[in-house]
């Protein structure tokens, strides 16, 4: 296994494994609440943050994190105060941030390579400081999901019922949105802004077709996420292809297998 002798590969695999672990953990609660598009909207907000960061010579992931947190907060406020329906708020935020990103990029006469590494991911060029940011955010996201697992489960089951059980639904939703932003930011270098939504949603879709029980579904989604990320990066190294693409394609492979398996199981149980 000569690939472990390269520092950049070790960093890539650690970063990839963390993203594969956490994106589906957050994603499960987004999918169950029919909010999976929030990942895409926040990814474009992160792109805006990166563009502003590059133009102003600030640390792009930090600007991206600030932007996604602010956007997540705004989306939740628009929805809770019923100023805009949830899906419309997501669309407005997506196009608004994308437009700002385009304007900033044109003002700075393009960033070519740097911007491309955020758009399409560039897991092999993760620096030690990038990795520390990924590790830090991963700890925060993991702690949130672990500590508020019950609240997240209840809120995704039924919001009115969660309220009458004593769960502070609006606070949990807000925290979920902000941490989705954090997850997007930490996933950005691995799979890129354009594909980050896939890693949030696809392992969850695969797991929902196989597992029984919320806990089992959570664990299986995380396992599929890690397998996709690590498998995709190793494949990218040997086949000399873009890692973001191979990571997402492997996760889609899992989804296809899971769908086939669940289809066959339903056929068999109906026949028997």
């Amino acid at each position: 296994m000569d690939i472990f002798t390269y520092d950049f590969m070790v960093r890539a695999l650690i970063g990839g494994a963390l993203v594969g672990l956490l994106a589906p953990a957050i994603g499960l609660f987004l999918v169950l609440r029919r909010l999976s598009l929030i990942a895409d909207s926040l990814a474009h907000v992160a792109l805006m943050g990166v563009a502003i960061g590059l133009a102003t010579a600030a640390f792009p992931p930090a600007v991206a994190l600030g932007s996604t947190s602010a956007a997540a907060f705004s989306i939740e406020q628009l929805r809770i105060r019923r100023i805009l329906p949830g899906d419309v708020a997501l669309a407005v935020v997506l196009y608004c941030s994308l437009a700002i990103a385009v304007v900033v990029i044109s003002l700075a006469n393009g960033f070519n390579v740097d911007l491309f590494s955020y758009l399409f991911g560039s897991v092999l060029t993760i620096s030690p400081s990038d990795l520390w940011l990924v590790v830090g955010l991963a700890i925060v996201v993991a702690a949130f999901v672990a500590v508020f697992y019950t609240e997240l489960s209840q809120t995704s089951f039924d919001t009115d019922l969660a309220r009458t059980t004593g769960v502070r639904v609006n606070l949990v939703s807000l925290a979920l949105a902000v941490l989705t932003g954090a997850t997007i930011t930490l996933s950005m270098r691995i799979v890129g802004v354009l594909l980050v939504g896939a890693l949030v949603v696809i392992p969850v879709m695969a797991s929902l077709r196989l597992a029984t029980g919320l806990r089992a579904t959570t664990l299986l989604a995380m396992a599929i996420g890690v397998a996709s990320a690590v498998g995709g990066i190793i494949l990218a190294y040997y086949a000399d292809i873009a890692a973001s693409g191979s990571v997402v394609l492997i996760s889609i492979g899992f989804l296809v297998i899971a769908s086939g398996w669940s289809w066959a199981r339903n056929r068999l149980s109906r026949a028997g």
């Binding site: 169950l32 609440r33 029919r34 672990a146 500590v147 508020f148 697992y149 019950t150 609240e151 489960s153 209840q154 995704s156 089951f157 039924d158 919001t159 009115d160 019922l161 309220r163 009458t164 059980t165 004593g166 769960v167 929902l208 597992a211 029984t212 029980g213 919320l214 806990r215 089992a216 579904t217 959570t218």
Partner: protein, 267 residues
């Protein structure tokens, strides 16, 4: 001090504030008034059926009671407090009519759904801990679906799901049980068993029950009091005191038709 909440009311039994009280409540969505001039009390120990035709404001009444909606005017009190200040949600079990997740293939098992009812605040170890629990097993046993504990909730029949939701409410060991059309879509035999179970919980465990339904026949025999709602309170009193006249006024059709339908439905 103990009787401060009871002044001006000779009907309150010992044990403090009514479990649910509406004082001249008005609720409107924009220009559309859903309930108005609504004054109603449910005392501790009652099995109160709230009856009314579709669109009469029954579900709105429950949502107001649980603080899920805020009255446009008037006052709502649940066990003596306005819902927004009420902190003892552990005393209340709620069985909603429909769930946000009912269309999705929500992955939780019946066990996991019922265990949600045990919620008492953030628990960092919940993810590691919740694999079995004697209270959950016992609640599923009480409602007669102990064998479904490891089954996927979303794969159960409508009637089985309603029982699991009742178990989720009971596992909280509530003083007050609030149910919204719990037998909608359930066959007659299952419906009768469900009502009999509610009556037993009311009598044996002393749980106060507020049941919203449009089903006249069953509630007449099981409930202790009936409140008829059609935008406002039409009748409120013991179940046996309700007259054909009031029911006809409520539904706008002659009572013979209603009773015939009720009997027919329950055959």
């Amino acid at each position: 001090m103990k009787d401060a909440t009871n002044k001006g009311n000779g009907l309150v039994p010992q044990g403090g504030a009514p479990y649910l009280e509406f004082r001249d409540v008005l609720f409107a969505y924009g220009a559309h008034t859903v309930v108005e001039n609504l004054t109603l009390k449910v005392e501790r120990g009652e099995f109160a059926a709230i009856l009314g035709p579709n669109g009469s404001g029954k579900t709105t009444l429950l949502k107001l009671a649980l603080g899920l909606l805020t009255p446009s005017r008037g006052e709502v009190l649940i066990i003596g407090s306005p819902p927004e200040k009420f902190r003892e949600w552990g005393r209340v079990g709620y069985v909603p009519q429909r769930l946000d997740s009912s269309q999705a293939d929500y992955p939780a098992t019946a066990f996991e759904v019922v265990a949600q009812g045990l919620y008492r605040g953030p628990d960092p170890l919940a993810f590691l801990r919740l694999t079995s629990n004697a209270k959950v097993t016992s609640a599923l046993g009480t409602v007669g679906v102990a064998d479904l504990e490891r089954k996927k909730f979303s794969a159960l029949s409508v009637g089985q799901r309603q029982r699991v939701m009742l178990a989720r409410a009971l596992v909280r060991e509530p003083d007050l049980l609030v149910l919204d059309e719990p037998v909608a879509g359930v066959d007659i035999a299952a419906e009768e068993r469900f009502y009999a179970l509610l009556r037993r919980l009311n009598r044996e465990r002393g749980i106060t029950i507020i049941l919203v339904t449009h089903d006249i026949g069953a509630t007449m025999s099981e409930a202790t009091t009936v409140a008829c709602i059609n935008r406002t309170l039409v009748f409120h009193g013991p179940a046996h005191a309700i007259t054909h006249h009031e029911l006809s006024a409520l539904y706008g059709i002659p009572m013979e038709v209603l009773l015939h339908n009720a009997l027919h439905e329950h055959r």
